[in-house]
């Protein structure tokens, strides 16, 4: 398999070009600005959480590389309707997958279409690009305002 298939898959390129839910949510209760100082990527996550902890709406703004933008975009489409607790579980699995500690082919998971990012594990310098949106999401759920990837 060539690298374009591994990392820059068609779905990722598409979400980079046409990011979904790329907007702010007005009067939102939850938001966080995420920043990766290593590359300057900035992803802001906005969240509307309904009673029962259900994610009613989620969106993002910001700038960054194709991987970080596509990851944020796919994340927003994946999360709508899930609970905050489910989101945290998926964050955990996603994190393990990009680090190479979870193999979606052989291990149980709830990642669905997000497994498209598993190619990232071969590119250690890009792992943070893929996980920035997720770290920022957790920060937004916990309402801490700002997060920086170390």
């Amino acid at each position: 398999m060539s690298y374009q298939n591994e990392l820059y898959q068609q779905v990722i390129l598409d979400h980079n070009k046409n990011p979904r839910n790329f907007r702010e949510i007005g009067e939102t209760a939850h938001s966080c600005n995420g920043h990766n100082p290593l590359c300057g990527d900035k992803i802001n996550i906005y969240l509307k959480i309904a009673p029962g902890d259900v994610i009613e709406d989620v969106s993002f703004t910001g700038s960054g590389c194709a991987i970080s933008k596509a990851s944020a975009s796919l994340m927003t489409t994946f999360l709508k309707g899930k609970t905050a607790a489910e989101a945290k579980l998926v964050f955990d699995e996603f994190h393990k997958m990009v680090l190479g500690d979870l193999d979606p082919a052989t291990q149980e998971h709830h990642l669905g279409k997000l497994t498209i990012f598993q190619g990232v594990r071969e590119f250690s310098s890009r792992i943070k690009c893929a996980s920035l949106a997720w770290h920022t999401l957790i920060c937004a759920i916990d309402k801490t305002g700002e997060t920086t990837m170390e």
Partner: protein, 407 residues
Amino acid sequence: MAHFDVEKIRADFPMLAALEGGKPLVYLDNAATTHKPWAVIDRIRDFDSKEYATVRRGSYRLGERATDMFEQARKKVQKFINASDHREIIFTSGATQSINLAAYSFGKKFIGAGDEIVVTQMEHHANFVPWQLLCQEKGAVLRVAPITDSGELIIEEFAKLLGPKTKLVAVTMCSNVLGTVNPVKEICKMAHDAGAKVLVDGAQSTPHMAIDVRGIDCDFYAFSGHKMYGPSGTGVLYGKYELLDVLPPYVSGGDMINAVSLEKTTFSKPPGRFEAGTPAISQVIGLGAAVDYLTGIGMDNIAAYEHELLEYGTKILSKVPGLHIIGTAPHKGAILSFTMDAAHPHDIVTIIDQEGVCARGGHHCAQPLMTRYGVPATARASLAFYNTKREIDCLAKALQKVLEVFA
């Protein structure tokens, strides 16, 4: 210029024969670090296997010989940058430590509340953060000289920042992002007229052009060994002797003292005062070998060939659709920073890496400069005299791949 036999030179560098993912390595990250010729590798191996001992503590012949070789390396560096005295050469771990040393020792002696330090918008963090911290600590003021869109220092604006309160100007000779070569001689003259001292960051200039610190008339000059085909963990701070002689030590301990009693320590003369502890002995001797190697090729020959590469690279990259070169000063070193409409710098370098091309994407430790250009990052190809036009063609081909992927 006499014919520059780059293939012969390439044979001196074993790393250049390496493969990357099965493809020939095209190494274009020379501003970050450079590869070593056999002359350096062999010298260190010989020294370590036949001549190694500690230096400056010798009570036996082996140690005396090692000390001689170590001090020979100092004299080689002195000649290489045309310093007037070998005692003006302080060995450090790299340009970063050299600048921190200068900031600490000069700052301690000469910087007080209300004093001013002038830097430029194009400084590497290594020549920015130490001065910012010093100013914060002393209540001094950091002034930042602006640059033009093409990446040149605006001399008139720089001049306006100089005044009776200016104590030091810290400026790079060559920008690690833009490639701009600054008129450091003129800057020194202007600063000296205002009564200020000048530190020149030579990390990107020393490996690529003949350096004459006396001609420049700078008070300090800092550079790294690993960017000039020598070992990592080595660096140099040059300082005018009369200045070094009045500065307090930076790191203290063994090897830098005159006499220690329970009450008081008196310090050695420069450079010993600034070289506490056991230095990177083999590596400094390897740095001496790198200087010999470069001198053998001739810095003017290197500069002329690299300029040819730069012109070729500029021409080739300008043909890539949607590519923007950042840094177009008329006087520049062989560094090509760019952005592309199609892709983010990180995606660019990941894709060209798969074609065997090593280049860097990021802010290059120059965030104030990225802010100046309103970009989060750039991709950067930085060339050395062992690079070829064929390798620049490889870069161009790899960039076509980027365009295909992000079509």
